[in-house]
């Protein structure tokens, strides 16, 4: 029971909670930089969830070495790891672009607060 509860929390509810914390931040924060951080937190939650789908108990990292010479029973699933590698790079690209837009907005209007930007005559 205890083991099952722990594995459910680390593989399912933990990543979901991280994702929802990011969603909460995205919906409530007014500052553009805090919104970028919230999007990043959502990314981490999804990545953690996909990685945890590839979990195999007492498995090695999916790399052949001198210590691990053969394959079937000992490796974690490499496919989610490859997909998450792609997702991390995309999230870096998106974050760089969001932050560049934020810097432009700040240099143009002097603020990164969404309510103040909404009140301005643009």
């Amino acid at each position: 029971m205890g083991h099952e509860w722990l594995s459910l929390w680390s593989f399912l509810y933990g990543p979901l909670a991280i994702f929802l914390v990011g969603l909460y931040g995205l919906l409530t924060q007014k500052n553009l930089i805090k919104m970028a951080i919230s999007i990043n937190i959502m990314d981490y939650g999804v990545n953690l969830f996909i990685i945890s789908l590839g979990y195999v108990p007492s498995a090695e990292a999916p790399i052949y070495t001198e210590a691990v010479k053969t394959y079937l029973p000992v490796f974690a699933d490499p496919l989610p790891q490859a997909l998450v590698l792609t997702a991390i790079v995309i999230s870096v690209a998106v974050t760089a672009f969001i932050l560049a837009l934020t810097i432009k907005i700040h240099s143009q209007y002097g603020t990164t607060d969404l309510t103040k930007l909404g009140e301005m005559e643009l």
């Binding site: 399912l12 909460y24 498995a59 790399i63 052949y64 590698l85 810097i103």
Partner: protein, 249 residues
Amino acid sequence: MKKVIAFLLFLGLLFFLGTGLEQGLKLGDRNTLAGKAGEAYLKRTVNSADPSASPSRVEYSSETDIEENAANTVTSVVVGYRSFDTLGEVTVLFLAATGVMALFFTSGKRKRLALAKPNFILSVSSGFLLPLIILFGAYVFTHGHLTPGGGFQGGTIIAAAVLLLYMAGNAYKAPSTGLKILEGLSGAGYLLIGLAGLLLTGFFLQNFLPQGRMGALFSAGIIPVVYLLIGLKVSAELSGIVSDYMGED
């Protein structure tokens, strides 16, 4: 009060989504490798071209000329089986870097970002650390098919070295024209390798070099070449983003 309602909504959504996914995923039953990937895929042979041949066992450092024989299986997936996907990923990174450059370019000459004056320890130790960081980054992306890491990780490490230079000295300016040329050439190199595969074997990004012995530095066909190009491209791109953020002087 508002925060309490938000927290209750958060918990409700968590258990709504969680219980729904829990039943669909059956996490407990699928914690074996056979339960995750297709069984036919796992049992197929990699030693012959016929996929219905009897299953084979792969042995590290003795296997020669098997399909996609990078010792790092994740690299086999990323740059071998899903190489076209990685080409798209590199394109997305290129678009983001171009977008950042365009956003900062139109604002004319921007003043350099005012960082705190670097202290003595940082400015002296950056001289020692810089070659080590670049060497480590190059190691990570040239050994991407053997050890953890690869082009994206190694490129990020090298871009961190450029960021260190910016933080350690007020006079440093990254050579942005050279970075753009390096980025363009390595991106074009990736495409040319794909086209060479199309010409020689009939499939885009198909392996056309000898596979070699698994676990050797020169093995796995085009995978190390592609990861070397990706490493150069990502390091040039991320260094360009860093220098765009820092502004002109």
